[in-house]
């Protein structure tokens, strides 16, 4: 049993971290009243921007194994943040400044973002005229996958808790930070007010536009890091089109599952990561079909939670009151 835990848990965490980034980002966004359905696209953009940055950097080196560790981390990180931030700004400009419909804008962002990811992933080699068969950033990836030097010497404890690259810990820190920010600070209180009832918040002198912009852009940057973690750490620096799959939507499901609580999203994302790979560990023999039904679990669980929270109708478990609605001061 314990051996099973030692092999299962780290893989569940590795699956869960991209979800955790996406989920935390989306919670911060939704708390401002913006339902950003573009998160799947943002995560693709975050991933591919990191890939483009490190691809161009690795090409300037004659020997990729001599990579500068600081630049090797900072360049993809900066590119990823910049790319996701741009996506966030597009979304905010359209939905906050121009008051466009959030669902339509979000879906357009997902179409666009997944398109950008797959287009550059599939055409980067041709566009830059490189003579290599596939995008494989092993040098950068080894930097992202570096664990603490003594982690290997700590036995099962190390395997369970210390065997991850630094971005995994960043994800957990961001989730804890977001939880603290939302529940314990004045900024968090005001942000929640904006999401619940912007008209009242506006009357109280809170700058609605600024809160919505900052929260949504920060949320996009956080979610984008999930894409970067996926390609650089989980996938060993190898970009394959559509490999990221529907994890972006799963992150949105996770937001509902955690009932808009970033603190709860840490264990929940590991649970979802576990559900996502559960089919690999359940002995089904030769019956491959059953495995496909196991993959349904995270979504079914989410639906159950969604229904339960709405039937119980407890005030603190509801989505932000004005989620998905644009705010226009003169529209009463």
């Amino acid at each position: 049993m314990f051996d099973f835990l030692i092999t299962f848990f780290p893989r569940a965490v590795a699956q869960g971290i991209p979800l955790l980034f996406g989920c935390t980002g989306e919670i911060v966004t939704e708390k401002s009243g913006n339902l950003n359905l573009g998160i799947p696209g943002v995560m693709y953009v975050g991933g591919i921007c990191g890939v483009i940055g490190s691809f161009l950097y690795e090409r300037t080196l004659s020997d990729p194994s001599q990579i500068n560790p600081v630049l090797g981390i900072l360049i993809p990180l900066a590119c990823c943040i910049l790319g996701s931030l741009l996506m966030g700004l597009i979304y905010c400009f359209l939905t906050v400044t121009l008051r466009a419909n959030q669902n339509v804008t979000g879906l357009a962002m997902t179409t666009f973002g997944v398109g950008v990811g797959n287009f550059f992933g599939g055409s980067l080699i041709k566009l830059t005229g490189a003579d290599i068969p596939s995008i494989s950033l092993t040098a950068t990836s080894s930097l992202f996958r570096t664990t603490l030097p003594f982690a290997g010497a700590t036995g099962w404890f190390g395997q369970l808790f210390l065997s991850y690259g630094f971005l995994a810990y960043v994800a957990i820190l961001i989730a804890i930070g977001a939880s603290f920010m939302l529940n314990r600070t004045r900024i968090g209180l005001q942000l929640r007010a904006v999401g619940e009832n912007p008209a009242t918040a506006d009357a109280a002198g809170i700058n609605i536009t600024r809160y919505k912009y900052v929260a949504t852009c920060a949320g996009c940057v956080i979610a984008g890091l999930g894409g970067l973690y996926f390609v650089m750490d989980y996938a060993n620096g190898i970009w394959a089109n559509d490999a990221f799959g529907d994890r972006g939507w799963l992150a949105i499901a996770l937001v509902i599952f955690t009932i808009w609580r970033p603190g709860a999203s840490i264990p929940a994302s590991i649970l979802f990561g576990g559900l996502y790979i559960l089919h690999l560990f359940i002995p089904t023999g030769t019956d491959l079909a059953i495995k496909e039904l196991y993959k349904m679990l995270p979504y079914v669980v989410t639906i159950v939670v969604l229904v339960l929270t709405s039937t119980r109708n407890k005030r603190e478990n509801q989505p932000p009151e004005s989620l998905g609605l644009p705010y226009f001061r003169e529209d009463r």
Partner: protein
């Protein structure tokens, strides 16, 4: 001081002119981006795009069929959207319908006459799609469960259900795909008209378009949908049973998505995969919204989206780029159109005179 004011209704001609103008600008931007990516001159870009959509009679027919399929899904989502019910589950409802069709074709293919089989497929796929939409609708009507998120999750339940049956029915064993169903007997394949396999789909969807237009604008149920969409309280006040309207409308919406699933499986693909809906459930949301939920304008908006994707796919093939290029161009055009709506609904007033109120400035 910049001040934003809501417009009174803009004349139709003016708003159409603005939208067409913006689509024009967006196409120019797309041309420039393509020119940068491919090194081709912008005129050549448009020529290639037109070539990709209308280059040969075969391409025109495929284009027409794709427009019809996308239009069918958009029409399906429209009654729900008119009611301000965000049905983002088109993808799952199409898959449910497609799965039901494929099940009939595989299980009954050699047992009943072809005409009866197609009738059974129709009933099964429409029922499956309707069921897939009725579940979230029921919970919305009963407990006010968030329908955007519920329908979204139902997509992936459907995807995994299809993945399950794809393996159950895989042919040949171990291939992981179903392959073409009933290749020898063509049982359950929709009939061709005068040797043209695309025409039937186009005609059916054309009928559906007119039907939906009439239903929404000239029927009592269509009127009820509009009232519930504008204000559920008003609807309740005038004696409309809101929960009944929600469930009934979503059953129609899901049923038509299921019908689209049958057109896909029985009419064009003759197979079932998890990606058979190909994002139409999501693209249709944008198509319907672009057309302001008017079925007749949707012909134009679905045509535009399909033209972009076929054109961009031709560019991608010609220049050895990735097929996703079309998604980028579609995304850019959508951003432009989405942004334009603001200038149609609102106007920006630069008020220099702080003393005067906005009303005085006009």
């Amino acid at each position: 001081m910049i001040h934003v004011v809501k417009r009174k209704e803009m004349p139709l001609a003016q708003s159409v002119a603005i939208r067409l103008g913006v689509i024009g600008v967006a196409l120019v931007v797309c041309g420039i981006i393509t020119a940068i990516a491919t090194g081709l001159n912008p005129i050549g870009v448009y020529a290639t795009m037109i070539q990709g959509s209308f280059g040969s009679p075969r391409k025109v027919w495929i284009m027409l069929q794709e427009v019809a399929l996308l239009l069918c899904v958009s029409l399906a989502l429209t009654p729900a959207f008119r009611m301000k019910f965000w049905n983002l589950g088109g993808e799952g409802q199409i898959l449910a319908g497609g799965l039901a069709s494929a099940a009939c074709m595989i299980l009954l293919g050699d047992k009943v006459p072809n005409a009866a089989l197609i009738a059974i497929m129709f009933v099964a796929s429409v029922a499956a799609g309707a069921l897939w939409a009725a579940v979230p609708a029921f919970f919305k009507a009963k407990f006010n469960t968030n329908e955007t998120l519920f329908t979204l999750m139902m997509n992936y339940v459907a995807t995994q259900l299809v993945a399950f049956y794809v393996i159950v029915w895989e042919n040949p064993k171990g291939s992981g795909t179903i392959g073409v169903i009933n290749q020898q007997s063509s049982a359950g394949w929709l009939p061709t008209i005068a040797g043209n396999k695309h025409l039937l789909i186009v005609l059916l969807v054309a009928l559906l378009t007119v039907g939906m237009y009439v239903y929404l604008n000239y029927s009592k149920q269509g009127y009820e949908i509009s009232v519930v969409g504008e204000s559920p309280s008003t609807a309740r006040y005038v004696g409309i049973k809101v929960s009944k309207v929600i469930v009934r409308t979503l059953i129609i919406s899901g049923a038509l998505c299921g019908f689209a699933g049958m057109l896909l499986v029985g009419g064009s693909a003759h197979t079932l995969t998890t990606s058979i809906a190909a994002g139409r459930g999501f693209t249709a949301v944008m198509v319907a919204w672009l057309a302001k939920f008017n079925p007749l304008i949707m012909i134009g908006s679905s045509g535009l989206i399909e033209f972009m994707s076929h054109g961009a796919s031709e560019i991608a093939t010609t220049y050895g780029l990735n097929q996703s290029f079309g998604d980028i161009l579609t995304g850019i055009i959508l951003f432009f159109i989405i942004g334009t709506e603001f200038f149609i609904t609102y106007r920006v007033v630069l008020s220099h005179n702080k003393g005067k109120s906005v009303e005085e400035l006009g």
